[in-house]
């Protein structure tokens, strides 16, 4: 293999392996833009991965699986959205509860599905574009969920920055009192944004169980939900930079699985640590040095909004 072919393979794997981080991260980004911090991404991904696999197993349709995962993720996000938005419950604790609850549900109900097979997604090369050298295999030779993730990058960026609803979302996250005075339904918008986040997290989880390694393995997300939360911080709440973070993670996964095939000897377990260590490094970069974020988190992130009481 020439170095160019080698890097093309790595880049293509990076784009697909980054998909769960990208999807879950875009969802979390929208939720956080509305002012709701949802640390429960890992739990929502696990619930989505299980719902997707179980549905695909029962119906024989991967598409039905993906739809079920999206719905299950959105519904499960309500478990966080309702108490935090309506009752003003602490968002950190509620998010942690969601992780533990989601992991418990997935592991308790997934047990009979271990070792089963289900319908899965396969790569669908885009006609013409997939034959463009380098760019073709990297971006246009994947399964449909990967394409959806790629399309959502500009879509979410456009929605948040350029539409009326997106601006309403931003006001809820920056200054909920102004949003309320302007007649925006702060609570409803925040619940919707959180559920949107859950839907994308569920779909990201389903990519793992329906496309990446079509099977059900307990705890199969292996911390990807947390990496997604970290990448949202790194992204500075901007979808473009989030994609960079997701692909960085994907690249590390790609290196982990491909490096031995290229005849390079490296310790498997050191490679396994790499994504987590690099995520930490990236968080430091976002906080310090030349990569420092110009804009911080949404001003009201993590703070419950009540009409009465102090701002």
């Amino acid at each position: 293999m020439t170095p160019l072919e080698m890097s093309t393979v790595i880049a293509a794997t990076a784009v697909s392996s980054g998909t769960p981080i990208l999807l879950a991260g875009l969802g979390e980004l929208v939720a956080e833009r509305s002012g709701i911090l949802n640390l429960g991404v890992e739990g929502m991904m696990l619930v989505g991965a299980l719902a997707g696999f179980a549905t695909a197993h029962a119906t024989g349709s991967a598409l039905a699986g993906a739809a079920a995962a999206t719905g299950a993720g959105a519904l499960f996000a309500l478990v966080h959205a309702w108490p935090t938005v309506r009752l003003g419950v602490d968002q950190v604790v509620s998010g942690l509860a969601l992780v533990i609850l989601g992991a418990g549900i997935a592991s308790a109900f997934g047990r009979p599905l271990v070792g089963q097979v289900a319908a899965s997604f396969h790569p669908v090369p885009v006609p013409v574009l997939s034959r463009v050298p380098v760019v073709g295999p990297v971006f246009f030779d994947h399964d449909p969920i990967v394409y959806l993730g790629l399309l959502l990058i500009p879509a979410v960026a456009w929605f948040v920055a350029r539409t009326r609803s997106g601006l309403a979302l931003q006001v809820c996250g920056e200054a909920p009192r102004f949003a309320d005075v302007a007649g925006l339904p702060v609570e409803r918008l925040r619940i919707r944004a959180t559920c949107f986040g859950g839907a994308l997290a569920g779909l990201g989880g389903a990519w793992l169980s329906l496309a990446d390694t079509p099977s059900w393995v307990d705890q199969m997300t292996a911390g990807r939900g947390w990496i997604a939360v970290a990448m949202v911080v790194f992204s500075g709440w901007s979808p473009g930079r989030l994609a960079l973070g997701a692909w960085l993670f994907g690249g590390l996964v790609a290196v982990q699985f491909r490096i031995q095939a290229f005849g390079v000897h490296a310790d498997v377990y050191l490679l396994k640590m790499l994504p987590y260590v690099c995520t930490l490094a990236v968080l430091v970069l976002a906080a310090r040095g030349r990569w420092r974020l110009k804009l911080g988190a949404p001003a009201a992130l993590g703070r419950p909004y009540r009409r009465e009481g102090p701002e």
């Binding site: 640390l39 478990v79 108490p83 309506r86 009752l87 003003g88 419950v89 602490d90 950190v92 604790v93 509620s94 942690l96 509860a97 969601l98 992780v99 533990i100 609850l101 989601g102 992991a103 418990g104 549900i105 592991s107 308790a108 109900f109 047990r111 292996a222 911390g223 947390w226 990496i227 939360v229 970290a230 911080v233 310790d267 377990y269 050191l270 396994k272 640590m273 987590y276 260590v277 995520t279 930490l280 968080l283 430091v284 906080a287 310090r288 009540r306 009409r307 009465e308 009481g309």
Partner: protein, 359 residues
């Protein structure tokens, strides 16, 4: 109709007890639903969760056995919460503690007989403390959220143990375990499988609670926790105190792992931490961040875990993981309930402000 939260004038103890009871009832109902969904008799299965840990001397001893690692991890979470830091990394600190204790017993310097156990515990605690100092430094110097960094390091710790038990530390047989440690390093048994780690846990919890309430250091930590800005104005080295508290928290997590090696498992393997570090977050929160209460709640949650282990025995359709669902629901229910203690819900029709009473 829309919902409005109105602060209550005062909160009553009775209401808090009521909320706790209601939360347990809600969790039990959700548990019963999960049991029914799995095709098991709901009430009998709930009964297993109670009879298994408390119904026999064996169950009771298993409960106390599990309470040691869970209690230490809960202390690790609760200690960090004293300065408003979320230690989601007790799982990783547990792993590092187990690693340190195993190193001391298998590869460490020769230590005179009676000091061996103490040395191994010290190695475990130090490894845990060092592991927790990484997020501490990242937080104070790098402004990185300790929630994310402590959690991400859990995965690094587990990969590190895997690297050792599949590689240089692998024992004689073909499984990914280290060799057994010398019996001279074993924590002495108290009764059945329960070991002296239980006494250590209670002793350390009491000591820490005393330090928190009665010493200058404890007072300073409380000031830093209550208001970092005030502490800074008063000339307290806030960053140094945060680091010190995290180091203590890490040492506690490390002791959990060390006790598990020296008292129960006697050899290192990759599944050593078993999720205690995550359950500990719920325990510390339900204990209202109090150190002594954390140990008490840890015993209750250890009982729940023992009950969970009994589930597949009672009905093969059930998984011990159902207990986690139970724990998650309990936490969410208590969380929502405690809001209702402080606020009352008023349902009102959406009316223009001007027509509202008193406006």
């Amino acid at each position: 109709m829309r919902m409005r939260l109105v602060p209550r004038g005062r909160t009553s103890v009775l209401a808090e007890v009521g909320v706790l009871t209601a939360a347990v009832a809600v969790s039990a109902m959700v548990g019963a639903l999960v049991f029914a969904a799995a095709g098991a008799p709901p009430l009998a299965s709930l009964g297993v969760l109670v009879t298994e840990p408390f119904g026999s001397a064996f169950g009771l001893s298993e409960t106390l056995l599990k309470a040691v690692p869970l209690g230490f991890c809960a202390l690790a979470v609760a200690a960090a919460l004293k300065v408003n830091l979320w230690n989601i990394g007790a799982e990783g600190q547990f792993c590092m503690g187990a690693l340190g204790a195993t190193w001391a017993a298998l590869y460490g310097p020769v230590v005179p007989g009676p000091m061996r156990i103490g040395f191994a515990l010290l190695c475990g605690a130090s490894m845990g403390a060092l592991w927790a100092l990484v997020p501490g430094v990242l937080r104070t110097w790098g402004r990185v959220s300790e929630i994310l960094s402590t959690l991400l390091l859990n995965y690094v710790a587990i990969a590190w143990i895997e690297m050792l038990v599949y590689g240089p530390w692998k024992g004689e047989d073909r499984f990914p375990y280290t060799a057994f440690i010398d019996a001279g390093f074993w924590l002495p048994p108290l009764f059945r499988r329960v070991h002296a780690g239980l006494l250590l846990l209670v002793g350390i919890a009491v000591l820490l609670a005393w330090i928190e309430r009665r010493t200058v250091i404890g007072y300073e930590v409380r000031v830093v926790g209550a208001s970092p800005a005030l502490a800074r104005t008063a000339g307290l080295p806030v960053a140094a105190r945060l680091l010190a508290v995290l180091a203590v928290a890490g040492a506690l997590g490390g002791l959990a792992g060390a006790c598990e090696i020296l008292g129960v498992q006697h050899r290192l393997h990759a599944q050593i931490a078993f999720g205690y570090g995550y359950t500990a977050i719920i325990v510390a929160f339900l204990a209202r961040r109090d150190l002594l209460a954390s140990v008490g709640v840890a015993v209750l949650f250890a009982a729940l875990a023992v009950g969970g282990d009994g589930l597949p025995v009672a009905d093969p359709a059930l998984s011990p993981a159902i207990v986690k669902v139970f724990q998650g629901v309990l936490l969410l229910a208590v969380l929502s309930g405690s809001t209702l203690v402080r606020y009352r819900i008023v349902l009102e029709r959406a009316t223009p402000l001007s027509t509202r009473e008193g406006a």
